[in-house]
Symmetry: C2
Subunit: 208 residues, 2 copies
DNA sequence: GCAACTAGGCAGTAGCACTGTCTAATATAG
DNA sequence: CTATATTAGACAGTGCTACTGCCTAGTTGC
């Protein structure tokens, strides 16, 4: 199919498709002439995935590209693949200025030790937690790794559920895509579930 | 203190402080003359909170204003207060076009019934979950409310932890701020914990 | 009395995510 | 074999957000 049909089938404007092609989010079609290219079902699918990452999860175009690059990497080793997926973070400024400051991390390492978690030194999630704890403390809320422990225990159960659902597809590409979808696309839904549960629990306590 | 000291103490440029004043995120200082105003500790604190909501959680200035408005509302009824807090969502486009479509919700109501949760019809979290499920299905992942159930059970435990930590402050303002901090500011950290747990769990399974 | 500071207003900027326009090259219908 | 439509690729322009700078008139501290 040509670009206009790809646009119609995916609901993305041709100008936008060209933009994604330029940015490398969408692989180029098979060129049949200087001004003609052929796109396939994979392109329709990829476009839908792009819109989901950007629209549903709220990733920037650049972050979405990082995610898609990981999928296209085609790593067959699940563990290695997940390492790449988990290294992606949306809150872009992660480390803008002064990344080398604060060697302590407010006990994040202690949290990991307590949970018995083995995690790469380079995982950006460490930074996110450290920064959150710092911010809470600077706002007068006494919060440290101890307070996070029960949440970590729940996160562990969540992760178990997550990984269970990655069993199945043997095709590396399919597996990578499923990992991305269930890890990244599910994030807003998990936060939404928490808010629903908060409201429900608040209602229960209020009635009591 | 005057604006320059407020700027120095908070680390926010005076031009930006004026911008927040214009946008209503920061209450005006006590005017002592036509070109002079007095700011207090509350302003320093509020500024830090603003930067945390925008910088750490990634809220837009508009969404941050909604949050701050809820805090300033000064609701003394905890349940009512939390209802306001939980009604805030960052993924701005929530309902851009065609909000009235899709009456089904892919069984979100069924999920709520199964969990025994009583939740306002108006809670934006419903929409978020519905949209996520729709998106997953359109991408070929068979996912419905049944698959979310175990996550909902974990979310319920999370919410219990959350509400336990809101016991304490009697002052409505303080309580509201704590609710906001522990609900909204903690969100990136909870997702980060999940990713850490995922990597750790993946490592364990890989070794096995 | 005079430099330094300030409130308020508004214009300008930078970055992001598109969106529109243009050119040269096909494609297709009649 | 024309006339009309479509396309790839390049690049300029747009709309929005979140500031940032500048100006004016007024105020403060020495």
């Amino acid at each position: 199919m040509r670009i206009s049909e790809l646009s119609r089938r995916s609901g993305v404007a041709t100008a936008t498709i060209k933009y994604y092609l330029r940015e490398g989010l969408l692989p180029p079609g098979r060129a049949t002439a200087a001004t003609q290219a052929e796109y396939g079902e994979a392109h329709v699918r990829r476009l839908r995935l792009i819109r989901a990452l950007i629209g549903v999860r709220g990733l920037s175009v650049g972050a979405a590209k990082d995610v898609l690059d990981v999928i296209s990497e085609g790593k067959s080793d699940t563990h290695e693949l997940l390492g790449l997926v988990f290294g992606i973070w949306p809150s872009g400024d992660g480390g803008g200025k002064g990344t080398e400051e604060e060697g302590d991390g407010l006990g994040v390492d202690h949290l990991l030790a307590e949970m018995g978690w083995t995690v790469s030194e380079h995982n950006p999630a460490r930074e996110v937690i450290t920064r959150t704890l710092h911010t809470l403390n600077s706002l007068g809320v006494e919060y440290g790794w101890r307070e996070l422990l029960p949440y970590a225990a729940l996160a562990e159960q969540t992760a178990t559920l997550d990984l269970d659902q990655l069993e199945g597809p043997d095709d590396p590409l399919e597996k990578a895509e499923r990992a991305v979808l269930l890890t990244i696309l599910l994030e807003p839904a998990l936060l939404a579930l928490r808010r629903l549960a908060q409201e429900a629990e608040s209602t229960v306590r209020h009635r009591g």
